[in-house]
């Protein structure tokens, strides 16, 4: 809305700002959006056919989706992506949560230094991390193995878990932990009975971030993975060079859907966590009987 007190030049400027903002937004998402209709192309082209532009139903098909599920390479890549993603997420979540809980303690020595070190995989250029991992893991005989790829992805995902769990721990009422100790809980029980349930939203959203990180990752895979460990992004990468056909667009569309689903989940969790922190009165979903 343009305020009523704006003069003509003001109005013109405001309108210009609106238009240019929309253009920037389009520039950012158009390359992604354009993939979706193209993946339904009946022809093996990466461009819109005349029939598609006229919205003729026979110009569209699901053949590239079919092609993915008929190709053992793609099947393997999908399996790999979920397998590696799952275990990398598991490791990252356990390590990241432990690290965040430890770093949240007041008496933790060298807190800033350790935090910076743990978060460094997010900041250091990925190609450097990947190259370093490649040389290091090769020495250990882990390059080209599932374990190697999983550990590498876990290292990339851990910082996200640390960040989200640390965020839920700020403002955590430690008198709850003290109360539990007082009532007889050992430190381990305090963690599982009291701390864990209260930071769960942070842990889950951290886990989802870690999963997306692994799921979308291609650089480390290029260095570390052998033919057996090809993931979806890696398969797309070679698909772009070897077999140019819209299967890539179909799988890209699927990846977009997975990413959107995960992001929506994270946002819902974030709102839930904010509600939990915000007003205690809203805590229980349906417990009044």
């Amino acid at each position: 809305m343009i305020p009523a007190h704006f003069g003509i030049w003001h109005r013109l400027g405001a309108r210009l700002l609106q238009v240019s903002s929309w253009l920037v937004l389009l520039f950012l998402i158009l390359p992604i959006l354009v993939i979706v209709p193209l993946s339904f192309n009946i022809e093996p082209f990466f461009s819109f056919t005349e029939g598609m532009l006229r919205l003729q139903p026979e110009a569209y098909s699901l053949r590239w989706y079919q092609a993915i599920f008929d190709d053992p390479k793609w099947i393997l890549a999908i399996q790999n992506s979920f397998f590696i993603g799952f275990f990398a997420t598991l490791i990252a979540t356990v390590l990241g949560t432990c690290a965040a809980v430890g770093l949240a303690r007041d008496d933790m020595p060298l807190r800033r230094l350790i935090t910076a070190l743990l978060l460094s995989p997010m900041i250091v250029p990925l190609i450097i991390t990947a190259a370093g991992m490649f040389f290091f893991y090769s020495e250990l005989g882990l390059a080209g193995s599932y374990l190697g790829v999983i550990l590498a992805h876990a290292a990339l995902g851990t910082p996200f878990v640390i960040i989200t769990v640390t965020a839920t721990l700020t403002g955590f009422d430690y008198s709850l932990a003290r109360a539990a100790v007082n009532l007889g809980a050992t430190p381990l029980r305090v963690f599982f009975d009291i701390i864990m349930p209260l930071i769960r939203p942070g842990v889950i959203s951290g886990a989802l971030f870690a999963f997306i990180t692994s799921f979308d990752e291609v650089v480390v895979i290029l260095f570390m993975a052998g033919p057996q460990q090809r993931t979806i992004p890696r398969q797309m990468f070679s698909g772009l060079r070897e077999q140019i056909n819209p299967s890539i667009l179909a799988i890209a569309t699927l990846l977009i859907l997975v990413s959107i689903a995960l992001l929506i989940t994270i946002e819902l969790l974030r709102r839930r966590a904010a509600r939990l922190r915000g007003s205690e009165a809203d805590v229980p979903p349906a417990a009044t009987s």
Partner: protein, 372 residues
């Protein structure tokens, strides 16, 4: 009440000291013997070390030196979770993700009591704090007073040897606070547990405690039953901190057993009880409670008298506060019951303020050791 019963050394603090930075002592030399079933209050301004003592007993802070003994056994050898001490926190510290029933059951579950027994215990304690209908609610759905009652029940349900309360009523409004004071006293008398209660609210301390330890600067200034604390404060700090007191400066003229005669700065000679004041010829302060001081002639010529001019009066309701000033500028306050027979005063009227020698004391500030 189990006030005088039981072993005096049920809970014992001996020469307990605490420092956080290896320079300043937060608790300087804490000694206290608590009998089983006793209600002890640690009272003092914030930062006086009272909460630290509680935290050391609960095991959340280390003891720098000295010893805390429960039944003759040093607590430092027992892990905090194994001390069997209940605690009520200022902000309740109820587990927000558990229902009230689950909160109460938690200490029993940890102690691996059978399910049926836990259910019965939880029912019993819900009834005890009159929250039978709230068992399935979450803490967030209760009012402040109700949460406080849950916190209390949770601290008691596992039958701890000692219950610690850290300013448990600080977050409640005045009416609820008084109601909860009554509630805590009722449970204490009914169940007979030992209480260490921390507060900075002197009224709360006076109404609830068997004995009160007044803290200042990490030192216990006086530890005594409420009426002794109020009527016979051991030093000026206690006289000031507990209730109000009028202070008249003077020099000790003569000393006889437990009374002294003091020449006040404005020339009047008064006789008063001797507390911790020094020797003849040294300065001291005579402390009189505002309600013991009167400008009516109900004391006749029996008491001490000082001359003062009337300044103003404040109407409080059940009583009226009269403000006076002596010739040397000392301000004096008289609390008089709202009594229509009291003489009417107008500003600058000069009156004689009288009190009985046994209602006043000659006091000094207590010197406190401050080194490690």
């Amino acid at each position: 009440m189990a006030e005088q019963a039981g072993d005096i050394s049920f809970l014992q603090f001996t020469n307990v000291k605490k420092t956080y930075d290896h320079k300043n002592l937060v608790v300087k030399d804490f000694n206290l013997d608590v009998a089983q079933g006793e209600f002890i209050t640690l009272l003092g301004p914030s930062g006086s070390g009272k909460t630290t003592c509680l935290m050391m007993l609960a095991g959340f802070e280390d003891v720098t030196s000295g010893e805390i003994l429960i039944n003759g056994r040093s607590v430092t050898s027992i892990a905090p979770y194994a001390r069997n001490i209940g605690m009520v926190f200022q902000q309740y510290a109820l587990f927000p993700h558990m229902t009230i029933r689950e909160n109460l059951a938690y200490p029993l579950k940890i102690r691996k009591q059978p399910k049926a027994q836990i259910r019965a215990k939880v029912d019993e304690y819900l009834a005890l704090v009159e929250l039978q209908d709230f068992g399935n609610r979450y803490p967030g759905q209760l009012s402040g007073g109700q949460r406080q009652r849950v916190a209390l029940a949770r601290a008691l349900i596992f039958a701890p040897d000692i219950v610690l309360m850290d300013e448990p009523l600080g977050a409640l409004d005045k009416k609820l606070r008084e109601q909860m004071q009554f509630e805590i006293k009722r449970l204490h008398e009914q169940l007979g547990f030992t209480v260490i209660y921390v507060t900075h609210d002197q009224t709360e301390a006076l109404t609830m405690s068997d004995r009160i330890a007044v803290f200042n600067n990490g030192i216990v200034q006086q530890c005594a039953p409420p009426h002794v604390l109020y009527e016979r404060p051991a030093n000026l700090f206690v006289a000031d901190f507990i209730g109000e007191s009028n202070k008249l400066k003077g020099v000790i003229a003569s000393v006889a057993d437990d009374t002294v005669s003091v020449r006040l700065d404005d020339g009047a000679q008064v006789s008063t009880l001797r507390a911790n004041c020094s020797e003849i010829g040294l300065p001291t302060t005579v402390s009189v409670r505002p309600e013991k001081l009167t400008f009516t002639d109900r004391l006749g010529s029996a008491g001490n008298q000082v001359k003062a001019r009337f300044i103003t009066r404040h109407y409080v309701g059940e009583y009226i506060r009269y403000h006076f000033q002596t010739a040397d500028g000392t301000e004096l306050v008289v609390k008089n019951l709202n009594d229509s027979s009291a003489p009417q005063l107008s500003a600058q009227d000069e009156v004689a303020l009288a009190w009985l020698p046994q209602d006043s004391q000659a006091l000094d500030r207590q010197d406190v050791p401050t080194t490690l």
